[in-house]
Symmetry: D3
Subunit: 243 residues, 6 copies
């Protein structure tokens, strides 16, 4: 099986982290293809940046999804997810969606923990988009600045553990570590927590594998001819060589 | 990997259908253990019957979950799911939950199709319990009686296809075939439908495998000593030899 | 009039408290029948325990509801309520339902106060089940352990008064004292509170009387023959000698 | 016990019907005081008319609630209910509230049936105000005109029966006959219906009795001195001789 | 253009403040007519007072709306708004509605700040009535008493600034200063705030102008003949000389 | 005043229609700048197309918003709205938002009417995004194909009138004609309808004027340096010469 992880951020380092964690988690025989947006920002934190990220996500799927069995939009917030699902016949899930779905299946009420208070509005909007607000308890975010987003999980490890416990105190019975920069952290801290903790990349790998194995016959929207898009994206909308 | 399918109905024939469909769907190396409730009704259709089914589901988990990697409460409506999840440290999902979660990850708004109008209130309540009402479009149910619940999927195949298309007309972009008696039907009719169709047993197999592979450290509630329950159930609450 | 209070907990002492408070509250001529679950736990605090309690509640109704004018499932959380209502033609209400309904009719937005933080998730789920989350302000629970559940209301009286006032500060204009172990406390503390306080057993007695007096012709679901249930429960499902 | 039925409509005939039905339903020893608005419209059907009705309801309570044990705002839609509850220390319920609460306690999902399509928006708004929209299935209203609102229940009896059955088909398991002009009809048609039917006046009598018997210590808002209101209403706001 | 500001409070001083702020904000050529309720309370703070205010609002519209292009119910809480809109064919908006709508169009999630904790329940109910609760973050209210409602904005200016910043901390990205007594304050404090702040009177002026310019053909409900209302209100219901 | 209408579709003809209708509606002295997306599709009908449209909308604002007093994203569905609002300090509203807000201020419950059933899912998602689902009654769409989107309003005029009346039958008291291709139709058909009808371009012109006149001090998110975006968009994110 081949899974595409399309990182709509422009940070290659974050793509590498996703790839490393995904490969370690994947079933034997699952190949991980991890690709990075060519345009946009290092790390999407706002709705404006997510607009750009959504187009980047479609670009990446247009270029790389052929031959893949499922795809993951590999940024919490899932930019472009609704559109991506309309253009291809392989399953596409979002990193946030994967984490939230796992939380719903492993617990009853969940919290989200992440590394920057700037992410709050965008993350909440993402939960709302998925229709899952009813079981969200709280979003707990680091208030203090960090030095390097690609190393924030080790720099702030103990504070993040504290936020997870605060989420438990809020009434959550499961917590989602949100954002690709936190990929791989859940396993390290699980023993220190009173509630289960979910790694979104792990969730994405396994849920994407599961959806691919279900072999549901998906449909795409009818072909349409756009103007002035990249060749790959134009073909994607035209349904040429569509996955 | 070993997956437990705990059928809270008393019908062995439905258990056999679940087993057959689950074994055909499972990944190589996944063993399916399918067990049947000893007490209750042939096929749960109401809240009252689900009360009994919930206790049966816990009984079955108490007796058979040891050594399993994940468990499925194998009746749409998921009786006892919330309680089951509190008593064990392996992932437990419901058949309805599996179908609904797959629908949310493969489409945007979904409908449920099933074989008896008597199931409507109980099925709707189940969607509400999962907090997923916001994306439910409609529940479409056969109005005419059938001869044999274990054969209803072939007896009523063309009417069920019609209900799926009616769901598409309601605005659903994916449809869930609900209820263990419909296990295996989705594949047969997928080509005749304008929207994707989900088999709950397929969804349950693959999502249970996925959750087991995620290896999230789950917690159970503290041990408690009940009175006058079966030995297995007593041990389950006491946390003896707990999974 | 004869009212059945079916305590799905196994604690006879709690049944006695319910009986005492209910008899003191009942209208002249109302007879209280208070019965105790034979199987389960001393005091239901989790969803798993509520699964067992739900079956116990149906057992108790099956055995004792004949000749009664209305029944109360006498534990906050109302285990088995939906099923119970399907099996009988006398009104059945839950202890939580009674308290919440009284709160909605006597105030506008309400809080719940109870004696153990373990009860939080189960109590919230109960409010959600009743569709009354929109007017719930907060659930305030004692954080410190108590010695004896049957004496917790006197042991923690001043802390419970404090929680009620905290609820007022949250914006509640009425507070529900939740759980059979707190039956009878509301009257004692009412004068010390700035908002009205509701005793669930009082509410249950008077609302059950009211529903019985309304003489609405209720329907039960069609008879069905279960297997391996107790004789009383079997008859209850079969509709034999049904109330 | 003395119950005040404050009819915020100006129709004495409707007040008489309410009185007759309420007296027949009331417990032995319960006295019904039924009074009629002096200003406003014959029958409230819109939000504009409900504005006037709300002030009339407060006027009637100001004049007549002294010495009563509970009060009912005796028009479906409950004009002035929130305000009335703030000004007095006896329980006040609305006719709609009583019917809806009874429906929630006797069934799971309910419909409303009434006699004029003009009432739809106002009735729906009332359900929303009470926070009970989640369990409302449908509002079914007569489309054809009637001759006389005070005789509409006999004139349109068979059509109203049809609407109740249509509500059952919508998925309701209990139906509320809405509006004082339909008081007394439920008993006549109950045997012809497949689901239970609720008479709002019956519900109001018995729930008002229940709330009065609960003897919850209610609070009123602090006194305030209004200008240019009637003497009774002025006193009501000033808290003079307040109930 | 002529805009009617109908103040349902009896305080002429508050009407003067509204007039002053509205005239300063209005487009060239817009004439402000500001009128005061003859009956009721100085400042509406509760549901009971809003009942009276609603009738006053209709009275004021009945007397003064003729010849106006749009009307504003000039008290946060919008008493009588739904009814007012049914009786006239000019646009009518509420002061709260104007502020909330502006907040929704200028930000994503908003808080309300006002000067008295007594206003909380009534203000929240108003947001709920408008169906806008989903984007409300918090209601922040002064806890300490003030000397004079007409001067509260200067007396408590720094505390109000603090509440606005607290709202920002709650996650609001825009804040509404609620209540006619705060009219004009937003401009004074905007530079000290980290999030945008909305003046309800400004919003009402500009949105009323906008709605009037849209020239949508509005409808009123059919004429009806009420009894014992003032001549102006009687004519308003009868549709005589209706705007 | 200068208002920017940014059409995220690539159809110049639709931009011309918007310009014509907007200029006719605008206040004296208001200048309309109408610009067209350079990339994307002729007419956005799906989520995938809206992803591209969202980036186009930001592009257009980046290039043309300087010197404007407010901007409108001139396609129903409002692609990019949340992001646009973060990047500029002038008010930005969406065409759908304008229509929905006007509907909420002129009526109580509204329906949407448009010209293609393909638009349904995307339009509903837009209402949900704005948090306005609670007052939406129905979305009524033409089922039959049309020849030319730029002439669909005249080609299908009588069918569209029929849909508006169907919406009234659904319970709507106001209807929004959705989509730029229907701009200008509302005035033509208003006299034939039993409920008020809203033109989104009219609403957008007047609400944008209103928001600009309110002069609320808006904030933008902190500057950020993206890579590989167009120069205008790069500057927009960097906050250079930002409006």
């Amino acid at each position: 099986m081949k899974l595409l992880f399309a990182n709509p951020n422009t940070s290659e380092q974050i793509t590498e982290r996703i790839r490393t964690v995904a490969e370690a988690a994947a079933a034997p025989g699952t190949k991980i293809v991890a690709v990075t947006a060519k345009a946009g920002v290092q790390y999407i934190a706002t709705r404006a940046e997510a607009v750009i990220g959504a187009t980047s996500a479609l670009e990446l799927l247009a270029e790389h999804s052929s031959g893949c069995d499922a795809a993951v939009i590999a940024a919490f917030g899932d930019p472009g997810l609704g559109g991506a699902r309309e253009l291809t016949t392989i399953p596409v899930i979002g990193l946030a969606e994967a984490g939230l779905m796992a939380a719903q299946m492993l617990g009853r009420r969940y919290s989200i923990v992440s590394f920057s208070s700037k992410l709050g509005p965008w993350y909440r909007e993402c939960v709302e988009y998925h229709g899952l607000l009813g079981r969200l308890v709280s979003i707990r975010l680091l208030e203090t600045p960090f030095n390097d987003v690609t190393a924030v999980q080790s720099e702030k490890e103990s504070l993040l553990v504290g936020l997870c416990e605060a989420a438990a105190g809020d009434g959550a019975d499961v917590v989602v570590l949100a954002g690709a920069p936190l990929a791989g952290l859940a396993q390290k801290i699980a023993d220190r927590l009173s509630i289960p903790v979910i790694d979104c990349v792990h969730a994405a790998v396994h849920l994407a594998e599961a959806l691919a194995r279900m072999k549901v016959k998906l449909k795409r929207i009818p072909p349409k001819v756009p103007v002035n898009l990249s060749p790959a994206l134009t073909n994607f909308f035209r349904g040429d060589g569509s996955t």
